[in-house]
Amino acid sequence: MADAHAAAYRRLYVWEFPVRLYHWVNAICVVLLIATGFIIGRPIPITYANEAYQQYWFGTVRFIHFVAAFVFFFNFLVRIYWGFVGNRYARWRNFIPVTRAQWQEMVEVLKVDILQTDIKERISIGHNALAGLIYFLSFLVFLFQAFTGFALYSSMSSSFLPRLFAWVVPLMGGDFAVRQWHHLFMWFFVVFIIIHVYLVFYHDYVEGRGTTSSMVGGWKFEREDRLNP
């Protein structure tokens, strides 16, 4: 813990540019997708002064949803690629708990940060193991949304990519069911955003090492005596 003498900090380049770019493109897409998705699910009543040939706003909302979906999907593919070539903090190993150390870290994070039964300072430089696992689960939800979304889109498209997912519709029992699940899993993103943004602020506040700004500039700060060589 904090001793009387001040600690020396080292600046660490954690999030490489592709990771940061992925994060913000993803964030913008998700927000757009949620907003437009809500409107598509329940169109807002607007003033009905115009005739149908004078406006196209609902078509535009859907168009934004589809464009954002394509960007979201390819952006995610780039991130998967980066999971194999990026630095140690971006590697796929961070997201899949296979080692004993990762499971131990998860228990520790639960105790220290979530339940706060253990009051001490603990840090991970990149993702902690619990966050990694949550991100991995969210990647699965990304895929689920992409599969169901493209499946719904496939019947109005003759392009190659959406047609690849046409099989999802009969598998899930029809467009109605696919739409229902696509809609339900949208809420995952809402909940994810609430918790994710809060925890970033929490870590920044408690640990004071630039968690929030790290996703802008890529830098985090770590006490030298805690750094593993």
Binding site: Y53, Q55, F58, G174, A177, I195
Partner: protein
């Protein structure tokens, strides 16, 4: 076979139809079956020369609405397909024979024309308790289906019952009603709908007669010709959808103006059928044109996707009025509350740690130590 089953042309001649009327019928049948203009000769050829195929039309767990729809096909002569052109050897609803005679007809057809007769099935088959919930002439539907399907040239599942189980298979499906394609181990043409459009049924049969093979099917076994597009895609109210002009409640001004019924739970956007193209009852209308949303009657499990007047289904296990949005909102609010509670807890539990950190940074500033390397 040819001597007992004259061709359609022979039949029409004997009834006093002219060649012109025959050709008009061929043109109509070709158009409705989606056969392109150059294929008309094949249709004429088939109706002129091919002997009438025997047809066995089975009725299992159903309401006969498919039969009713079929005999209301638009063209007056199309109805004759049923009674004249197709040699209807067995159909419980329409046949003249009864009892042992009727069963003998079925037996004879299967024995006399193996691999030649067309099997049309209306209704689902119950599997529970050895299938005792649907018995005809002392035998289970399952038994009869296996026997008739074995040597059929083609099998068509009429309607949603035979294609996907329809209302009998709605939760909790007490008789374990099962669609035909899940029972017979052969390709089945699914023509879903409750009922399917009469003209679509005619067209499917016409296709088989003319080309002697199945029409092109999609991944769910439905003829692509009629089920590849959603009701929504060809709906005449579609422009209102894209313009964001929706009916907000029944009988409001927007309903009177004929705006899109999407918010009233119309299933057009998730339903694959030809209603908005062919329409019903000689092209008179279809549900949306009549001011009511589509209920998606040709889709799998549409009875369980209720309520019909809302676009999000009730969520199973959470009560009838619970939708995905209700659950989502509850979870979202819970997350926000949890986060707020956690923030408060943090400030209490980690009070000391945070103040130490602040203290440390203040010290650092004063002594000028540490900082960036």
């Amino acid at each position: 076979m040819a001597e007992t089953h004259p061709t359609l042309w022979q039949l029409m001649q004997s009834k006093g139809y002219s060649r012109r009327e025959f050709l008009r019928f061929c043109g109509f049948a070709a158009a409705i079956a989606g056969i392109k203009g150059t294929g008309l000769a094949a249709v004429v050829e088939a109706f002129e020369n091919k002997p009438r195929p025997p047809v066995v039309w089975m009725h299992f767990q159903e309401c006969t609405c498919c039969s009713e729809s079929f005999i209301r096909s638009s063209h007056p002569i199309v109805a004759d397909i049923l009674f004249d052109y197709l040699s209807l050897d067995y159909t419980e609803t329409l046949q003249a024979a009864a009892g042992f005679q009727a069963e003998k007809c079925l037996e004879d057809t299967i024995k006399k024309y193996p691999g030649k007769y067309i099997l049309l099935v209306e209704g689902s088959v119950p599997l529970k308790d050895d299938g005792v919930y649907c018995m005809i002439a002392g035998r289970t539907a399952l038994d009869i289906l296996h026997e008739t399907a074995k040597d059929a040239a083609a099998i068509i599942a009429w309607g949603s019952c035979a294609s996907n189980g329809c209302i009998q298979s709605a939760r909790p499906n007490p008789t374990q009603a099962t669609p035909i394609h899940k029972i017979v181990n052969r390709p089945v043409i699914n023509v879903p709908g409750c009922p399917p459009i009469g003209d679509v049924m005619t067209a499917v049969v016409t296709h088989i007669l003319v080309f002697g093979k199945m029409p092109e099917l999609d991944s769910q076994g439905r003829p692509k010709e009629f089920y590849s597009r959603r009701v929504h895609d060809t709906c005449y109210r579609r422009p209102y959808y894209d313009a964001g002009l929706f009916v907000e409640s029944w009988d409001d001004e927007k309903a009177r103006k004929g705006y899109c019924l999407y918010k009233m739970g119309c299933r057009g956007p998730v339903t694959y059928n030809a209603c908005s193209v062919t329409r019903w009852n000689e092209g008179t209308s279809y549900p949306i044109q009549s001011g009511h949303g589509c209920i998606g009657c040709s889709e799998n499990g549409f009875w369980d996707n209720g309520p019909f007047y809302r676009h999000l289904a009730g969520f199973p296990g959470f009560g009838i009025e619970t939708t995905a949005d209700t659950i989502g909102t509850i979870v979202g609010v819970a997350a926000a509350a949890g986060v707020a509670a956690h923030a408060i807890t943090t400030n209490i539990r980690k009070r000391k740690l945070i103040s130490e950190n602040i203290h440390e940074s203040v010290n650092t500033k004063e002594t000028g130590e540490g900082g960036e390397n």
